[in-house]
Point group: C2
Chain length 559, copies 2
């Protein structure tokens, strides 16, 4: 009888066990888990902290209300789970794992035919004095979530250290609890590694309007506490922030100690190296989930991007392989999505700077648009950015933010990326259209067309940041706002160089526009500004460009 041993019982491990069981009815399948809890919905923790999920058990329950514990695995899957049991060493010669029962201290060995490492990741602990103060938390385990909820009382101000995915989710959760939240981030932007700085700036600008405070490019020096050892503030190189609660979310690192001690190859990213069958350097040992590195399917490089979706898909693949079915895990696209304060945020593939760092000659476009027809009630805004290789016209990546349905577009581009699509191909895909869901030319198509217009020399653009720098620098140019007077009066960029000529009047009033000056056209979304640019170019104006993303993508104050 084949013996399958899986180390790690959170996400990928149980998935391996379930799949292997369906394929191998007679195998002896054992999961070893250091913690008390297994198969929990780690991604649900922020919603428990925020109060949208009332019942802690929901994080461990199936959709039909059964708690996923040792009994569940034994009864429904015929899988043995040893909790509070730590794997201490792997003897690859003898093919056995030495484990210690953390409650009794007892040590024993478990033999395996195939071993699967699903050892996960651990939160990075930054070198900040004061992390041991009361009221300082992380949000990587259900016990963390429970602790935070238990200690919410009396907290009116909190600081999140780190503006990554978990930091943003923690921020939203505490805001829902009516706590004032500041976020301190070492990098100059929120969601570094997820969004490019341009979209991150727009998102941060909008989130601050919702009452959160970002301290970007700031380093936490230490945490301060009172005599009772409870945190009272966060000292940064930009000043001190009061806080009765601090959540540290500065990323995770793969748990590779066991693998390293067993002599398995650790990859260049610091995570366990596996082949496309998820086999480690020992063919009888597989590794899955947050402890492994993956092939990035766009760059061809190894990356460490630990995500629950990857862990689960890998679980199925490894389950196949331990059962002797050859199954491949091809790699990842770095797709990541997030909902924060009503904003949908997503990315896939390479970011602009990532792509440049890899040597691509990159062209990008930012498109401000509606997710659905503007006459359909409930339509909302979207800002989509595409990153494209100039030479091959191949898609490299996409990012999107907005109150509108950004995630559908991210999944569409992810699918296109998977198949090596060019930006032209993206426009060719027959996507679904009806007013409740999209526009006749979908937002992703439209964004592709902006890139194509740029590639083909029809569209010349300037980014919000470049325009802001031009304005601040005092350049001599015309900023031609082509919106309606009503829209202009509602809000506009206040500057002497701004000139209002509504698009519908432009052909008639074209002689009022100076021909010897650089002209930047501007509107709400970019559509009219592009039309104006084409009209002026067609009339012989030599130096015209339009503001990409319009005022919807303008992350600075307006009058």
């Amino acid at each position: 009888m084949s013996k399958i041993v899986i180390i790690g019982g959170v996400a990928a491990g149980p998935k391996v066990a379930a799949r292997a069981r369906r394929l191998m009815p007679d195998a002896e399948i054992t999961i070893i888990e250091r913690g008390r809890l297994i198969s929990y919905a780690g991604c649900g923790m922020p919603f428990y902290v925020g109060g949208q999920i009332k019942d802690f058990d929901q994080l461990f329950s199936t959709s039909y209300g059964v708690i996923r514990d040792e009994h569940y695995f034994m009864n429904e899957k015929g899988v043995k789970v040893l909790t509070r049991t730590e794997a201490r060493a792997i003897d690859r010669q003898k093919k056995e794992v030495t484990v210690t029962n953390l409650d009794t201290g007892e040590t024993s060995t478990i033999p395996y035919d195939k071993l699967v490492l699903a050892t996960g990741s651990s939160p990075v602990v930054p070198p900040i004095p004061g992390l041991d103060l009361k009221g300082v938390h992380r949000l990587n385990h259900p016990d963390d979530a429970r602790q935070i909820v238990e200690q919410l009382e009396g907290v009116s101000e909190a600081v999140i250290v780190g503006a990554g995915l978990i930091g943003m989710e923690a921020m939203e959760a505490l805001l829902k609890r009516k706590i004032f939240v500041s976020v301190v981030e070492l990098k100059e932007q929120i969601l570094p590694g997820v969004l490019d700085p341009d979209l991150a700036a727009v998102l941060a600008f909008r989130l601050e309007e919702e009452g959160v405070e970002f301290h970007l490019g700031k380093k936490v020096l230490r945490l301060e506490g009172d005599e009772e050892g409870h945190v009272t503030g966060v000292v940064t190189d930009g000043g001190t922030l009061d806080a009765q609660m601090v959540i540290v979310a500065v990323g995770v690192r793969p748990n590779v100690e066991l693998a390293r001690a067993a002599g398995l190859t650790i990859g260049e990213t610091g995570a366990i190296a596996v082949n496309e069958y998820l086999q480690t350097s020992d063919p009888d040992i597989y590794a899955v989930g947050d402890c492994v590195e993956n092939l990035h399917l766009v760059s061809g490089r190894k990356v460490y991007i630990p995500l629950a979706s990857t862990a689960n898909r890998q679980g199925r693949v490894a389950g196949d392989n331990v059962a002797g079915r050859k199954s491949k895990f091809k790699g990842v696209l770095g797709t990541a999505v997030l909902k924060v304060l009503g904003w949908n945020v997503g990315r896939t593939g390479l970011g602009e700077q990532q792509a440049r760092d890899l040597g691509y000659d990159v062209i990008t476009a930012i498109n401000a648009t509606h997710d659905r027809t503007h006459y359909y009630p409930g339509h909302d805004n979207l800002l989509i950015k595409l990153v494209v290789d100039k030479k091959s016209r191949k898609l490299l990546g996409a990012q999107a933010i907005g109150g509108g349905d950004a995630i559908k577009r991210i999944d569409v581009v992810a699918t296109a990326l998977h198949f090596g699509a060019t930006v032209d191909d993206l426009f060719d895909v027959d996507l679904g259209y009806a007013p409740p869901f999209s526009t006749p030319i979908d937002a992703s198509h439209h964004t592709a067309n902006i890139v194509r217009n740029k590639l083909d020399g029809l569209a010349r653009t300037i980014t919000a940041r470049e325009l802001k720098e031009k304005l601040d620098r005092g350049d001599d140019f015309i900023l031609l706002d082509v919106r309606t007077p009503e829209q202009f009066n509602y809000r506009h960029i206040e500057d002497d160089r701004v000139m209002l000529v509504t698009l519908g009047d432009l052909r008639r009033r074209i002689d009022e526009i100076p021909r010897d000056k650089e002209i930047v056209t501007l509107c709400a979304l970019g559509v009219r500004a592009y039309e104006a640019m084409r009209t002026l170019s067609g009339a012989g104006f030599k130096d015209v460009k339009f503001l990409e993303g319009g005022l919807q993508g303008w992350p600075y104050e307006l009058e």
Copy 2:
């Protein structure tokens, strides 16, 4: 100066004009439109009828509130529009179009260098006596929508003839006006050509719970009216339905008369034949939108699928080509989406029967699932069906219905289809996961896995219809419900052959299950039933299958 003449000013025509103008600042561009209204949002009409769009003008307005009329096209685009002007003949030798002003009766000729036919489609008029009665409408033009709204008063019962996309939208619109609606459809299902009968049956069952009444497989014989010539009822071969309003929505046919008279090739579908540059058989004449046939990218056959999304994308391509840029329209996937009474409905590629008719050896799977993690508030149901070619494992099509986000999955499969993906490829795509948007293994991945499990001999299934027939036929078998007792007591199939063994008890109670009988396992969604099937198969049971789509996909009464 190049002369571009476009016949048709609704969707594709204006799009051609706008694109051509951006590329050809000096060209003379003229749109000829028979009607009074141009560039209207035909797809928005049902929402005007339903009252969600209050203002008729919204159907003609840009997102920034400017009415798209002749002045708009002249002022913003430099495009001349002649409304109430009918193109009567094309002289291909002289390259001119004979037009008649419908208000003055004056006839003149307009010369062209490139001509674009965007003549659209007209509603099919079925041979039903009584169509001229007052209160009988169609919903193909904004004037139709306005008439319906003007005549709503006093209407308490309405009949829709035709259960296609427009029929369903009209149905929802009238329901929103608190009118009792019956729908008569000649075919045995709703949404023929959009959904396969299995998903259509589930959707119809659910929509009837919302208070609509379907009369499927019924033929309308005539409409009845009162002395004042107002409609009072619809006589079908299944009885008479009272109605103070009737909307006839039995499809559209392409307007090809002008093209045919000019000697242009009409395709096998009856629509204008074009090559991939959207050129007709005359290289100086292009055709776009509802009047042309398209290449179906999965089947390789010509199809007539008139949709606004196709029209708009074709407009850009033809705009390129009349301007001398070689641009291709590769074809369509038959993607169509719809929102009806809170249900999201979509399809792409080939339906099951379509695929069989084309000679494919087809395998399908229906997956009942959640669109998001079950613990996230607001998650909703989904039913996804994939159609796959057994031999090549290539995706052929997908359909989805549900309160949950079906459309994202349709767009993902459409994108995969475009690139010739196999069902295995679909699972490999790195889609975005976070609890507000999906499950760690996305619904589309999960559906792909069911197909793969069937292909690989791991999953054996039975459809709802097959099971119903088995039950009705009196077959001797065990219907093993593996849900919890609470779920079972809430609702179940009432039959002597039903046996309740909760999945968690199955391994312990396995000896209670007769080994000599055929067993069909059953649960809410299908996940536990599959697990039970694998458990029983693993224990040596020979004839086990599970109900695909579970009770969520069961379109019959339950106790």
